[in-house]
Every structure is written in structure tokens, then in C-alpha cells.
């Protein structure tokens, strides 16, 4: 096991629709998809980034793309009112990689 920033094994994109934003996260290598599932959980995201990712975080799993989709609520007074920078926020988290 090694502790590494998520960005070393995955890429991500943030988008918004109305007052909800989503961040999709994809493992570069298929072997790391289970790592995404184990490490990038709504509970963990809520614990680390709860101040920004408000409300319930919903996760959808896409094994055919080795990716996950995370949906949360954004905040209009923020300089980044659409949550476009959340992809970089999430890619900065440290994860355990076998």
C-alpha cells in the first residue's frame, strides 16, 4: 500500500446544472477502478470537504468507463458559484493505493 494523491491515478471533470454540481472521476488504469470505489466514497468526501460539498453527496458507478459520478449542491455566493474547481479539490485528496 502507498499513500498517493488521487490525481496520480485518476482524472476528473466538474459540471453544473441548476444548483447542483457533479464531478466525474475516472481511473487512468482499469486496475485502479476498485481503488476509486473503495477510497472516493460520499462519506469520506463529506468528512474532508463538507464545508464546500454541501448536502447529500450521491455517487453513481460506471464500471464500463472505470469512472464514478459524484453529485452535490453548489453555493451561489462563492467566487466559483458553479463548483467548477471541485475536480481539482477532489483530485488533491490522499488515497491508499495497493
Amino acid at each position: 500500500m502507498s499513500r498517493r494523491p488521487l490525481r496520480e491515478i485518476a482524472h476528473a471533470r466538474a459540471g453544473d446544472k441548476g444548483n447542483r454540481s457533479n464531478v466525474s472521476v475516472f481511473a487512468y488504469a482499469a486496475e485502479h477502478y476498485p481503488v476509486l470505489l473503495a477510497e472516493v466514497t460520499p462519506a469520506r468526501l463529506k468528512r474532508e470537504f463538507g464545508g464546500v460539498l454541501r448536502g447529500e453527496i450521491v455517487r453513481y458507478e460506471l464500471p464500463n468507463l472505470n469512472g464514478i459520478n459524484l453529485v452535490s449542491v453548489n453555493e451561489s455566493l462563492n467566487l466559483d458559484g458553479h463548483g467548477k474547481s471541485w475536480s481539482s479539490l477532489i483530485l488533491g485528496m490522499e488515497i491508499e493505493v495497493p
Binding site: R7, H11, A12, R13, G15, D16, K17, G18, N19, R20, N22, S24, F26, Y28, E48, F49, G50, G51, V52, L53, V58, Y60, L62, N64, L65, G67, N69, V71, S76, L77, N78, L79, D80, S85, L89, G92
Partner: protein, 444 residues
């Protein structure tokens, strides 16, 4: 069916301020059947209503004349149909302005179609229920600006069947701008859900222009994009079964590969297995991507189920004013001075102005966008205080600007570079309704 029966459709704009030169290049070199300009956001539409209320001739996309002046002669020369939602809140006005541009350029015999019916501002009753915040239109308690239904491909078909050279709509679901010409070309039935789902997937991938060709992707040293300054816009080669190759013109910047297309596949999507459009409840969870040569990705496997019964309607209300004001502190102890300045603003808004408006204070250079999520150990020596406040009146909004500017003389040492502005804001909610679209054609 002949193997060469491929529909070539490109994206000329993915938002209202998108670049123009990639669209020009695509029509010149892309041998296109059609080019789509997607120029509406939820807020754009609300501001369109406001512009039209101020001047009955306005309310369509501000760059319409410039885009049409560049595109119409090229589209005519190359036999490319132009499909767009540039009409925003004044579709008829946009069609007339486009006809004026065509006449001015000496382009006789052009058919310009206006797709009407999305504007349901006069038809939304006060007791219409909004899905968020869960009350009725009347109970929102804010001035109503306008309401628009998301039309589907159905609404555009009569314009395409009338052989319009230019099809101008207002609010249409973005993927439907692409699905409509595909339906016409391949005679897809309106209840063939799997093929409509596949077509909606192509439209979804294409609607944001450069986002599928390497824009919004580059992370230097990690995810590099060649010649980003000249990023090409996308071109889809669509087959009769709804599968497609997403590509871009040779000798343009950007990249089209599996990583880029994957990111776009989930962009602005919530549940990938249930992406609601007016045409079909699309399912992207079964999609397959395959690299098929340099800057070519084959997309297949998109499918769908029966479409929603009613159309989504966006209802816009006056959201008051957003005030934003900033001032910088630099050098030793800059963060402490900026923090003190923020405290002074907070205290005076409460004590002197009695304001309880929603507000937020950030230190740019220390922690701005991710303020409450991440704190760094190192204090920057170059910090910009940003204060934001949402007010019901302009005066209350201007109080924030006044307080931040007065820091220059009354606040911590060495504050400079004050900027402040007040912007009218809108709030949008959703409801659902049935509407009856129609088409009018102008011939130049």
C-alpha cells in the same frame, strides 16, 4: 443502406461567448451537413427576458449579428444548415435580425425558420408547483421574469422539413438541437427509444463544443493538450444506428481521445442511466468508447427509454443584486491585514447598516474558493480580500461596496487595488408542463 450514409454535424458554439474562428474553419473544411450553435444557459435566458422587456427588439444572443455575418455566406456556399438556439428570449426578433444580415450580404432566397412555443411566460399560472423549492410560482414572493419550456427535436422537425437554411429556436434541450437533424436524415421514429437515446448521447457529447476536443482538460505536465490556443471544435460522423465518430479537423489544436470523451460523457450529468431530455430518457451507462485513429473516438451503445410525459419548464424570478468588492494587501503580514479588513467589513455591515443579507468573505491567495475545505500552513504575502453579498435592493448592495472601499482610509495599513461591482441576479426554478410549438419561415 449505403455504407457512406454518414451525417456530418459539427458544433459552432458551446456557449454564448464561445469563439467564432473554429466554426468558420469547420464550415470551410468540414464538408458539413449541419452546424449547431448552442448559446443558452439558464441565466442567459432570464437576462434575455430582461433585455427584451427593456427593448422589444432585443432579448436574443448579443453576438447574433456577428456570428451570422461570418457564417451565412459560408453556410450557403458549402450547403451547410445552421441550427441554433440563439433566439434566446426573442426568437422572432433573432430570425428577423438574421434575415436582415442575409439581405445586407446579398443572400437572396435564404429560408430562415423561427421555432416558437418555448416561451410560456403568459401561460404559467400562479398556482403552478415548482419542484424546488416545493412551493407555487405565486408563493416565491419575488417578481416573475419569464418561463420557458425545454422543447425537443419534434419542435424543430417542421423547420427542417420546410428546407430551412437556418433554424433559430429559443429554449430547446441542448442534445435535441443535434437529434432533430439526425431524426430527419435517418427517419428515426419519435418512439424508437434506443436509437433516440444513442442520438441524444451524440448530442450531449457535442453540445459544449471544445469540451469534447480538449478544452477544459489541460493540466500541464499531467494532461497535456497540443496547441490549446487553436483548439478545434468537434465534428461528429453519425451513422444510421446512432453510433458516431467524434473527431475534429486536421491541423487544429486539441485532442480527441478516450480520456477527453469520457470526461464529457458525464459532464453536467447526474444519473447516467436516466438522463432526461424532451425526446427520450437517455441511458449513457451502457455507452462504449473506442479510439479509432488519431483524434477519433467511436461512440456506441447509448440507449434510452420512453420520454417524460411533460416538458421541463424553467421559471425565472428576480434574484435581487449580487454585490462583490475586493481590495489587496501585500508584503509581510498581508494575510493578517486582509483578515482584519474582512472582520471590519463584517462588523460594520451588522452594526452600522443592520444588514443580515447572506454574505461571504474570502481571502484570495490564502483560501478563496475552497475556503472551508482546505487550510494551508503557509500564509501568502499577496492576498486579496473578496466580499460578496446578496441584497434585495441596489442600495443595500452598494453598502457593501462602500464599506470595502472605505477600508482604503479607515482600514488596515497598505490596502490597494479596490474594485467593486453590483450585478442584477436571477433565480431559476423548475416546473413541468405541456406546450404546443410552431414554426414560422422568413424567406430573404
Amino acid at each position: 443502406m449505403a455504407t457512406n450514409d454518414i451525417y456530418r454535424i459539427a458544433t459552432g458554439a458551446g456557449f454564448s461567448s464561445d469563439r467564432l474562428d473554429p466554426a468558420v474553419d469547420l464550415v470551410k473544411r468540414g464538408q458539413l451537413d449541419a452546424i449547431v450553435f448552442e448559446c443558452i444557459g439558464e441565466r442567459t435566458l432570464a437576462f434575455g427576458h430582461r433585455d427584451r422587456q427593456a427593448d422589444a427588439d432585443k432579448g436574443y444572443t448579443p453576438l447574433l449579428e456577428r456570428r451570422m455575418r461570418a457564417m451565412l455566406p459560408l453556410c450557403r456556399k458549402h450547403g451547410t444548415r445552421l441550427i441554433t438556439n440563439m433566439g434566446v428570449a426573442n426568437v422572432r426578433g433573432a430570425a428577423e435580425a438574421t434575415a436582415d444580415v442575409a439581405r445586407d450580404l446579398g443572400l437572396a432566397g435564404m429560408k430562415i425558420a423561427a421555432v416558437l412555443g418555448d416561451d410560456v411566460s403568459d401561460a404559467i399560472p400562479d398556482d403552478a408547483r415548482l419542484s424546488e423549492p416545493g412551493c407555487t410560482v405565486g408563493e416565491v414572493g419575488r417578481p416573475f421574469i419569464g418561463a420557458n419550456a425545454y422543447l425537443g427535436a419534434d419542435a424543430l422537425l417542421p423547420a427542417l422539413e420546410a428546407d430551412a437554411d437556418v433554424v433559430i429556436a429559443g429554449r430547446v434541450a441542448d442534445p435535441s438541437l443535434f437529434l432533430a437533424p439526425l431524426r430527419q436524415r435517418f427517419a428515426w421514429r419519435g418512439d424508437d427509444w434506443p436509437v433516440l437515446g444513442a442520438g441524444a448521447l451524440v448530442g450531449h457529447l457535442m453540445e459544449c463544443a471544445a469540451l469534447v476536443t480538449g478544452g477544459y482538460f489541460a493540466d500541464p505536465g499531467v494532461k497535456d493538450v497540443a496547441d490549446l490556443a487553436a483548439v478545434g471544435f468537434p465534428l461528429a460522423e453519425v451513422a444510421a444506428d446512432g453510433s458516431a465518430v467524434i473527431t475534429k479537423l486536421p491541423d487544429t489544436g486539441g485532442r480527441v481521445d478516450e480520456q477527453v470523451v469520457k470526461e464529457q460523457l458525464l459532464y453536467e450529468v447526474h444519473d447516467p442511466a436516466a438522463y432526461a431530455t424532451p425526446d427520450v430518457l437517455a441511458d449513457f451507462s451502457t455507452a462504449e468508447l473506442e479510439e479509432a485513429g488519431a483524434d477519433r473516438v467511436r461512440v456506441s451503445g447509448g440507449t434510452g427509454a420512453v420520454r417524460p410525459e411533460k416538458l421541463k419548464v424553467t421559471v425565472a424570478f428576480d434574484g435581487g443584486y449580487l454585490a462583490e468588492a475586493e481590495v489587496s494587501y501585500a508584503g509581510a503580514n498581508a494575510a493578517a491585514r486582509a483578515r482584519l479588513a474582512g472582520d471590519v467589513v463584517e462588523e460594520r455591515l451588522a452594526r452600522v447598516h443592520g444588514s443580515n443579507a447572506p454574505r461571504r468573505v474570502d481571502l484570495i491567495g490564502v483560501a478563496s474558493i475552497h475556503a472551508s475545505a482546505v487550510t494551508g500552513p503557509d500564509e501568502s504575502r499577496d492576498v486579496r480580500l473578496r466580499c460578496a453579498l446578496r441584497a434585495q435592493s441596489r442600495e443595500e448592495a452598494e453598502d457593501l461596496l462602500w464599506e470595502v472601499e472605505s477600508l482604503l482610509n479607515c482600514g488596515p495599513s497598505g490596502g490597494g487595488g479596490y474594485r467593486g461591482h453590483v450585478t442584477p441576479s436571477v433565480m431559476t426554478y423548475s416546473t413541468f408542463d405541456r406546450v404546443s410549438p410552431s414554426v414560422e419561415v422568413i424567406e430573404t
